[in-house]
């Protein structure tokens, strides 16, 4: 849950970068013939809004209204008493509270000279009731579904974001090194990671110690640092040594990393990993995935394996084995898609 550091720091991301992101979206909206783009967000999936405004939606839901021309506004069911904090921690100046989206959207569109086109960004993921509320608020307007326009912008991090990802990756590597020894209780592994990573400024963190047969377990960390995400998972080597199938997971991860290349579909490195896996216990099933960090708030649940990997994007390469008793183990790493293949995020040369 989002209960770690939330900060707006122009030393980290230049002051003009976020307004420029909004302008880029506005140009796209104009190209699509859209008068107002609406971005829905809830506490589970809010990175589009965070990317555009630095607003952290730590509870409930809201809509960011982005006109093709003019300033964006955040429409929310939360009371105005949260506005001072939102102004302090985001670039938003127009914050509107109300009891429902219908009245809020109505208030936003009523200043338009004439009805136009409202575009719903990532429309398939919008609650249907929220879509109905928008339609009710804007009679005479054409309410149109749009794809993931903001997600597309987020796929390749800026230099500033890459710097933050590099710092976050360094913290993650150090913290994981401290907890993958064989003799720690699960709760202690998680506690050490929480203390180290939230203490280093992670905003959101999901840590699991997962278990498979033969005494094999893994520590899996998914974390949000500012508005970018990372995942890493490492095997905990049993005191008696790793069985062959567990060693094969590491080979599979290496194969997937080796197959990461710009322009390839996400399914290609995944297939390379699955080919390498051998000797899995009976009944086990393996999945290899390549998921953009931009999709990690939802764990890549809605991502397409056929999507090509753009150069400069940051992806999680993961190999997961599921067991019939509900157990699982995983290995994973977050890498940059470089011109010639996967690059370590905390590689000093990447940030030189």
């Amino acid at each position: 849950m989002k209960r770690g550091l939330v900060v707006l720091d122009t030393a980290e991301v230049p002051e003009q970068e976020r307004p420029d992101r909004v302008v880029r979206l506005q140009r796209r909206l104009a190209d699509e013939g859209v008068t107002i783009g609406l971005v829905y967000a809830d506490v589970h999936r809010s990175d589009d809004v965070g990317y555009l405004t630095n607003l952290c939606i730590y509870w409930n839901e809201g809509i960011l209204a982005v006109p093709a021309e003019g300033d964006p506004a955040f429409l929310m069911k939360l009371s105005p008493r949260v506005h001072p904090w939102m102004r302090r921690s985001s670039t938003l100046t127009d914050l509107r509270s109300g009891k429902g989206f219908t009245a809020l959207v109505q208030g936003f569109v009523e200043n338009a000279a004439e009805p136009g086109v409202i575009g719903l960004v990532d429309a398939a993921l919008w609650p249907a009731t929220a879509v109905d509320e928008v339609r009710a608020a804007a009679p005479g307007w054409d309410v149109r579904p749009l794809g993931g326009l903001v997600r597309e912008q987020r796929l390749v991090p800026s230099a500033a974001e890459l710097g933050l990802l590099g710092a976050a990756a360094g913290h993650l590597r150090t913290a994981l090194d401290a907890v993958v020894g064989p003799d720690l209780p699960d709760g202690e592994r998680i506690a050490v990671l929480e203390q180290a990573l939230r203490g280093a400024g992670y905003t959101d963190l999901m840590v699991e110690v997962v278990h498979g047969p033969d005494g094999v377990s893994a520590v899996e960390v998914t974390g949000q640092f500012r508005f970018s995400w990372l995942r890493a998972a490492r095997l905990v080597t049993p005191a008696a040594g790793a069985p062959q199938w567990a060693a094969s997971l590491q080979d599979a991860l290496a194969a997937a990393r080796g197959a990461v290349a710009p322009g390839e579909a996400a399914a290609v490195p995944a297939a390379a990993a699955e080919k390498t896996l051998t000797g899995l216990p009976a009944g086990a099933t393996a999945h290899a995935t390549v998921v953009h960090q931009a999709d990690l708030s939802t764990g890549g649940d809605y991502a397409s394996p056929d999507e090509q990997l753009p150069v400069g994007s940051v992806v999680v390469v993961a190999v997961e084995v599921l067991f019939p008793d509900g157990g699982r183990v995983a290995v994973a790493d977050t890498v940059r898609v470089g011109e010639t293949g996967a690059e370590q995020l905390d590689d000093k040369e990447l940030h030189a």
Partner: protein, 380 residues
């Protein structure tokens, strides 16, 4: 995980199916987006992690479960309450459409219909054309409100972790510590004790503090009041403690503020009994503020609720004037009159209780006092 048993399963499904019959539903679909999974857990006793999951409960016959995340399927099946599990393909959701075509329901209740994505709403319409689709959010909220012995046992574990988390919170406070480092220390302690998750808001400073937020980089100063709502989740069940502590010695204003809020908590607790409404508890709390001339600070301009229910979701029935929901025996909620006043800024104080046959039982053992650090008590 300490799983519930067959008796618990029978109790829940009987309760839900009775409510379905009362409402004329021949099918219930419990939708669980990533931030509202309480009904999935209630009906499967499994901890899922996918961004979208569904449990399908027909009026008769076995339930089925769907998740967009493959790892959830074995987790659900392994618990044994729902063994018919399928991957939910999104956005097409053909697996759901086909299942609905087979069942041909006439009236479908959807829990969290208000959050159901357009793609899944379309899939339901395609699979059950002509079916009446209504919200069943209230149906499951009501079913979950009355806790079983097993559920109360889980919440008592949460209560113990609440107390330990608050103690850690007080222990680490010192001038110069940034807010987010407090959270890191408390999170570590809660996880060490087995918490699955935690919801926590914080605010530090003086009488300028107007509300609670995620932590920032602000450094604690001598004399700050540091407020928190701390809500660990143990085996699915959330419970909250609300307290405030002063870094150093409390001022007279901070003590007066505590006295006002403590009187409001006492007033709220004093009316709790089976059959009381959320409205009546809120009125009892707010009347204390009104009596002392601070009634305006009980409005939405300054605060949200005067408490709320707990269970598999952390923020269930709101305790607020105008909510006439009846709180039955075995309902669990927190009485917290948290709000801003000009006395000492936003103040946080509250205890979770379970409604008993004769009144209430406070579930946490932490003293209801204004804490000072190094450890001390400014007001009680």
């Amino acid at each position: 995980m300490n799983g519930a048993d067959d008796v618990e399963q029978e109790l829940r499904y009987t309760r839900v199916r009775e409510a379905m019959a009362e409402q004329g539903l021949d099918l219930l679909l419990a939708y669980g987006p990533g931030w509202r999974r309480e009904n999935i857990r209630y009906l499967t006793d499994a901890r899922v992690t996918g961004s979208a999951a569904l449990v399908l409960v027909p009026a008769t016959g076995d339930p089925a479960a769907f998740s967009v995340r493959p790892a959830d399927l074995a987790v659900i099946a392994q618990r044994g309450w729902v063994t018919d599990v399928s991957r939910l393909d999104f956005p097409a959701a053909t697996v759901l459409t086909e299942r609905l075509r087979d069942l041909a329901p006439a009236r479908i209740g959807v829990a969290h219909l208000e959050l159901l994505p357009q793609a899944l709403a379309d899939a339901i319409a395609a699979g059950a054309p002509g079916a009446e689709v209504v919200s069943a959010t209230g149906l499951l909220d009501n079913a979950r409100m009355v806790k079983s012995d097993w559920e109360l046992a889980q919440m008592r574990r949460s209560a113990a972790v609440c107390a330990a988390g608050w103690q850690k919170f007080v222990d680490v406070l010192e001038p110069g510590l940034p807010e987010y480092r407090i959270v890191a220390e408390v999170e570590a302690e809660l996880k060490r004790l087995g918490a699955e998750d935690n919801f926590m808001l914080i605010a530090s400073g003086g009488d300028e503090v107007m509300g609670m937020t995620p932590p920032g980089p602000r450094l604690l100063e001598e004399g700050d009041m540091v407020r928190t709502e701390l809500t660990p989740q143990m085996n699915g069940y959330w419970l909250q403690i609300c307290r405030s502590a002063v870094v150093g010695k409390a001022s007279d204003a901070q003590r007066r503020s505590f006295d006002l809020f403590n009187e409001a908590v006492e007033a709220g607790l004093s009316v709790v009994r089976p059959g009381i409404t959320a409205h009546e508890v809120a009125v009892a709390e707010n009347d204390v503020f009104r009596k002392h001339g601070y009634g305006e600070y009980c409005t939405a301009k300054y605060t949200r609720v005067r408490g709320h229910g707990h269970g598999l979701h952390l923020d269930e029935t709101p305790i607020i004037e105008g909510n006439h929901t009846v709180l039955p025996e075995r309902a669990v909620f927190i009485v917290h009159p948290n709000t801003y006043t000009p006395i000492a800024g936003y103040h946080v104080l509250g205890d979770p209780v379970v409604v008993t046959a004769t009144g209430y039982e406070v579930l946490i053992e932490t003293e209801r006092v204004l804490f000072e650090t190094p450890q001390g008590v400014a007001a009680a």
